[in-house]
């Protein structure tokens, strides 16, 4: 058999410990807090089906034909209107429809990153973003965060050490994996630093619409007037991830280049699905649906927070998100997290160890806990079970 000579972008091994964790955790018998899935029982299946039927009835031939790389104009108009409710004024022409926000990250990295350029992220962060940056040859560097998001003094020190920083990647709202949000003051400082140190900001915002406590914070992009922020949005968390549609909003010069790269990559995103979502948004009150999700996630998130405080051992630290799908736990001491994971699986409950979310120097006593995909009752009983496993292991030492 041929010995292949892969490009330098290809990971040397096929090891995928994170994927293996998710596979183990996905057994039906397991109450899993490991994945990052929205609640399928909240998908508006009937409404999306009705939208699909209108699309087939009224424009069947059109939506099955090739279309524009930038995406369905009506959908871009509707996203533009929706974004205004989130504090952003982007014209439909300043939007590019992408195959999920993952492709948005990919296209931005492709546009900006030469091999050896530095991309800075929060630490911990969404690890699949780092994978994308690395395929384009980026060196990724993490900056610590706290309850107010990425630490700006530390960011500035990092920028001084890495003058070839091209991009700073942040998830400012209900971040994956911590659930924390970046304060307004830090958002303002980040924009000022971008100007001073000449980099662009990726504001990745899959969760921002799902706020169940506290007040909305202005999007970073709304604080910038020099075209330094690329905002990536997605329908995955507010509507349905299987439809794989997201968008980038950015300065028109950037959208022009991104559209060209998008055309090279997949010509355009699924035309039928674009039309279905546009029809859904026209025929339904999407904000009402988002409110419905948010209210459910509030119950789940608050239940999980209270249960962890109740059942996990003394000394456990945890975040208290105001929205989104995740919270973040630091266990006391120095537990063997792999053993803990294995014991939890034996007890039909699962989480994700936090270490893989760190670009470097992982904190091995951390766990990401997803609360969007399980009922309040499952969360209560599952956390109780996890608490017992943890306590028995930690106290056994």
């Amino acid at each position: 058999m041929t010995k292949y000579n892969f490009s330098s972008r290809v990971p040397l091994t096929n090891d995928n410990p994170f994927g293996e964790i998710l596979t183990v955790a996905s057994k039906p018998s397991i109450v899993s807090f490991a994945g990052g899935l929205p609640a399928p029982e909240l998908f508006p299946v009937a409404e999306i089906q009705a939208a699909a039927n209108r699309v087939f009835d009224e424009a069947g031939q059109t939506v099955l034909q090739y279309s524009l790389a930038q995406g369905n104009l009506q959908l871009r108009q509707l996203i533009s209107q929706y974004m205004q409710t989130r504090g952003l004024n982007d014209a439909p022409d300043d939007l590019l429809i992408t195959t999920g926000s993952q492709q948005g990250l990919d296209l931005i990295a492709e546009m900006m990153v030469n091999p050896g350029d530095v991309v800075i992220s929060e630490k911990p962060t969404y690890l699949s973003a780092l994978d994308v940056f690395k395929t384009y040859g980026a060196e990724t560097v993490g900056v610590d965060m706290d309850a107010d998001g990425m630490k700006m003094d530390e960011l500035e020190a990092t920028l001084k050490r890495h003058p070839n920083t091209k991009l700073v990647y942040v998830v400012p709202n209900f971040q994956n994996p911590t659930g924390n949000s970046m304060s307004l003051a830090r958002r303002q400082r980040l924009v000022a630093l971008a100007e001073q140190y000449d980099f662009l900001i990726i504001e990745d915002d899959p969760y921002g619409a799902i706020r169940y406590a506290g007040d909305p914070i202005a999007p970073i992009k709304s604080l910038d007037s020099n075209g330094r922020v690329l905002y990536t949005g997605t329908f995955s968390k507010i509507l349905a991830p299987g439809l794989r549609l997201g968008w980038i909003s950015a300065a028109s010069e950037l959208i022009t280049k991104l559209t060209l790269l998008k055309q090279f990559e997949d010509v355009h995103s699924d035309n039928l699905t674009q039309a279905i979502i546009a029809q859904y948004m026209q025929d339904n009150d999407m904000q009402k649906h988002i409110d419905h999700i948010t209210s459910n996630y509030r119950d789940r998130g608050e239940t999980m927070h209270a249960a962890i405080e109740k059942y996990f051992p003394a000394g456990t630290e945890l975040t208290h998100p105001e929205g989104g799908m995740f919270l973040w736990v630091k266990l006391p001491g120095n537990p063997d997290i792999d053993q803990l994971f294995a014991e939890c699986i034996k007890n039909n409950v699962a989480f994700v160890p936090g270490a893989p979310f760190f670009p470097d120097n992982p904190e091995t006593n951390t766990m990401r806990m997803n609360f969007s995909n399980r009922s309040v009752a499952e969360i209560e009983s599952g956390i109780k079970k996890m608490g017992a496993v943890i306590s028995s292991l930690i106290y056994a030492k």
Copy 2:
């Protein structure tokens, strides 16, 4: 405003002469042979809508949720069965579902091409493939073709000049833009050369199922036993391009790597659409639908061929495809093709100049003619009109 420091992948200008031609040609008043669109009136809209409704009724929540990067297993099984009818035996595990075959080309280039590596293509060729290879830093080199496809002696000479050739890209059936197919002997020689000179072959086959004359030729991939051929397929020409679904079939070691890169790029392809196509294939005789398309395209292709022979000036050379969507014309002498295009547009008829399809040394007296997107009557009258314009221009010199 910020002055952006783009990566070296980004084209320096936003010039897109080919796109401008297609935009000019897409005015409703114009009978266009310029684009590469399938016939929308042949899309099985009602059958796809019925399949969509079954999917929503039976698996609504599932298809709206995240799924596997490799793609819907049932769809891969159905493609595997379909590929057997085309002469290929690929297990469902050796297939990766992609967002159109364009993404297949992108992922293969990403996997194999380091900056400076050489990718060889037919000359002329599908120019958007060359764009993809270039974004990964490839040097693209063209090899002349004739009615039997890429010339193998010339390929071997080119391989000797470029020992860092990683990939040879071919469209062996009813090639875009010429409509020619590669003979079996050349396919065999290509596989032998791949072994001898250590490169991989991309067999891009969007049109192969649409054969209306002559006998099928064995796929290149079926002639290889060393995992050197990556076959890219698509539903764009046999079902509907707006659904943006295609596949790669390749050795499982390659599919494993490609699946990882696919996951980085867009997580997975549209889950709803994957399920709709699988349902469509289960509930319908897709081959019967392909036969229906093929029979229509035969009438259109043969009409265009006869009309060009009748109405274009003496000395015009043209290919005689046995399937697909295009034929290729060489005009006598040295006509000003831009002037010819402008005159045709004035007369409400359009074609694409052939020069942009050449990686280098374009033949400026060539034209690509698409016959799939217009009725027999429009083809007859449109070609007659073009013939008059060409004759008046060429004889006016």
